[in-house]
């Protein structure tokens, strides 16, 4: 028998869900609203919510002071590039660990995860020096490499769990049917793994897009992505809340739009295998 849920409970839980949803969304909404305020209204107390003098002057100032498109292009190239390279390395790696595991596979997986346990600041100085000596500071290539390496363990882990979900029998059936490894990949495994691949790709893109530690420390202008663009508005000259908000809104807009359109794929990928 299905559990009976009273309409009152539905109302309460729906209300609670909306409340918490709103709570999580609030910072983004607030940033968005603040970006349309004047600097004076931005830190007015009590804060104004919707009824303030709407202005787009912050956006004009931000664009005038720093080149949004230059940073956006850097972000796209760094996030896209590091994701692409990470996927190219991670797919075969996760593949072999999921379908041809050895005694050491578990250890390797744990070792990879362990690299994420160290705070990045712990290796900042050596990495900085290595980058300086190899001329990688403030280059897109340098940022692509570091972000790719940083996200690789997570990408491999995610893909590994997705591949694990694919029943071995199906691959064996394909082998019995005469599929070579290449054809097994093209006709059987890839189509089955697409939801997992897509959500891993999206998540990695978001992580790389928002990554601030390495991008702030290893780039200044030429290769600086949007994170540096945002940070430049909390400067020694003082905090410019409204302009900072405008910069943030501009910086997160592409990724929010991307996430919005791919949310089905993301949710499906993240809950893949939870329900058979």
């Amino acid at each position: 028998m299905a559990r009976k849920v009273s309409s009152r409970r539905v109302l309460v839980s729906t209300g609670a869900a909306w409340f918490f949803g709103f709570l999580i969304f609030l910072p983004i909404l607030w940033t968005f609203l603040t970006s349309f305020k004047t600097e004076l209204e931005a830190f007015a107390i009590p804060p104004t919510f919707l009824f303030f003098h709407w202005t787009t002057e912050n956006y004009a100032t931000v664009q005038g002071r720093s080149d949004y498109l230059h940073h956006a292009l850097n972000s796209i190239m760094i996030a896209g590039g590091s994701t692409l390279i990470a996927m190219l390395i991670a797919v075969p790696a996760a593949w072999s660990m999921a379908f041809a595991p050895t005694k050491r596979t578990k250890d390797i997986l744990l070792w990879m995860l362990s690299t994420k346990m160290m705070p990045p600041v712990g290796v900042l100085v050596p990495i900085y020096l290595v980058y300086r000596d190899f001329g990688l500071l403030d280059t897109r290539a340098g940022l692509i490499v570091i972000l790719c390496l940083g996200n690789l363990p997570i990408v491999i882990w995610m893909l590994f769990t997705y591949f694990k979900e694919i029943p071995k029998d199906i691959l064996e059936a394909a082998r019995m049917d005469g599929a070579t490894i290449g054809r097994e990949l093209v006709y059987v495994l890839t189509p089955m793994a697409i939801p997992g691949l897509a959500s891993t790709l999206l998540l990695n893109l978001i992580l790389a897009w928002n990554e601030a530690f390495w991008t702030l420390n290893l780039s200044t202008s030429d290769a600086a992505p949007l994170t540096v663009f945002i940070a430049s508005y909390s400067s020694p000259e003082g905090l410019f809340w409204a302009k900072l908000s405008a910069a943030s809104t501009l910086a997160i807009a592409p990724i929010v739009v991307l996430g919005w359109f791919s949310q089905r794929q993301l949710v499906r990928g993240l809950t893949f295998g939870a329900v058979k």
């Binding site: 029943p167 199906i170 064996e172 059936a173 019995m176 049917d177 005469g178 599929a179 006709y187 089955m192």
Partner: protein, 334 residues
């Protein structure tokens, strides 16, 4: 042709020997069932024949050619998996056609063969559906369709019916047997269900702990089991084993009597005992009798038998149907 010969086939995973020295001759067109308790190596043996596992030693001959170094697809066998293992993203048509597509057959020929296989298995109306839109029985049929369409030398079945409900299992059992006879293709079938083994097989291979205990027709195994293990494994309810004095009288270590070969009397002769449980199935009655020093004995009587728990009975074995075993468990006489 589909003659499969195993010569001293061994398989071990690390230090664990799964299959030890298996020798077997499967004739062309035969329906051979591997049966045994779980972990006995029956599925491993099937996978060795399929080529999904590599042998540790020995030879597997298909039509006289040693195939141990031949990849699975080149052995000319097709396999039906326990989980069906259908390609979830392909339609029924795509699933059945996949093997032919991989073999590089021309499109019209693939279509013709797929249609024919679908017609044989009553799958024609479902050809454009995805596996997730099919019932268990239909999925099973698709898996079989995928196997027959390639016109293999032999079918390998790995417990194909164990995911179906009881009624469907009986129906599919008949269909698989009929199909195999109609096609005349050799079939190797793995199951842990001895009823499936008895009803479907031309010949049964009884496996235990990686050993082939006996190879013979169902009735041979039933009437002349080679040892205690086979005697106990084949037949339901299980054969009664009695050792001690009653066996000593016949000069052996253990005697075995099938439940259907125990005569039940309400007075006098045979082994005395008390009915502890009586199961009335209508067509049969199973009596579980506490026979004191002899232990629990099972007796099977045809039809309704008006005995109930607590009744005193005497059991006498049919002398012609008593199996005698030595201390090593081997059969004596035969």
């Amino acid at each position: 042709m589909g003659q499969i010969t195993l010569q001293r086939v061994r398989k071990s995973f690390g230090p664990v020997n799964i299959i030890q020295d298996a020798n077997l001759e499967i004739e062309d067109g035969a329906f051979v069932v591997f049966v045994g308790p779980s972990g006995c190596g029956k599925t491993t043996l099937l996978r060795l024949i399929a080529g999904l596992e590599d042998v540790t030693g020995g030879q597997i001959l298909i039509d006289g050619h040693n195939v141990v170094d031949v990849p699975p697809a080149k052995r000319g066998l097709s396999m039906v998996f326990q989980s069906y293992a259908l390609y979830p993203h392909m339609s029924v048509r795509g699933n059945i056609a996949f093997g032919l597509k991989m073999a590089g057959l021309p499109r019209p020929e693939i279509d013709r063969k797929v249609e024919a296989a679908a017609a044989t298995l009553n799958l024609t109306p479902y050809l454009d559906r995805k596996p997730r839109d099919l019932s268990g029985g239909q999925r099973q049929r698709v898996a079989i369709g995928r196997a027959i369409v390639r016109e293999p030398k032999a079918f390998l079945f790995d417990e194909p019916l164990s995911n179906l409900d009881a009624a469907l299992r009986v129906q599919m059992r008949l269909e698989v047997t009929k199909l195999q006879k109609q096609l005349g293709t050799t079939a190797v079938y793995v199951t842990h269900d001895q009823v499936e083994a008895m009803t479907m097989a031309d010949k049964i291979v009884v496996l235990n702990a990686g050993h082939i205990e006996q190879y013979g027709s169902p009735l041979e195994l039933y009437e002349r089991p080679a040892n205690l293990f086979v005697a106990g494994f084949i037949g339901s309810p299980k054969m009664n084993f009695v050792s001690g004095e009653a066996a000593g009288e016949r000069g052996v270590a253990t005697i075995g009597v099938r439940p259907e070969h125990l005569k039940i009397g309400k007075d006098g002769e045979g082994w005395p005992g008390t009915v502890s449980v009586a199961e009335h199935l209508g067509s049969d009655t199973f009596l579980y009798v506490d026979a004191g020093k002899l232990g629990m004995l099972t007796a099977r009587c045809i039809g309704e038998f008006s005995l109930k728990a607590g009744d005193r009975v005497w059991l006498s074995p049919d002398p012609a149907r008593v199996h005698r075993f030595n201390t090593e468990g081997g059969v004596i006489g035969g």
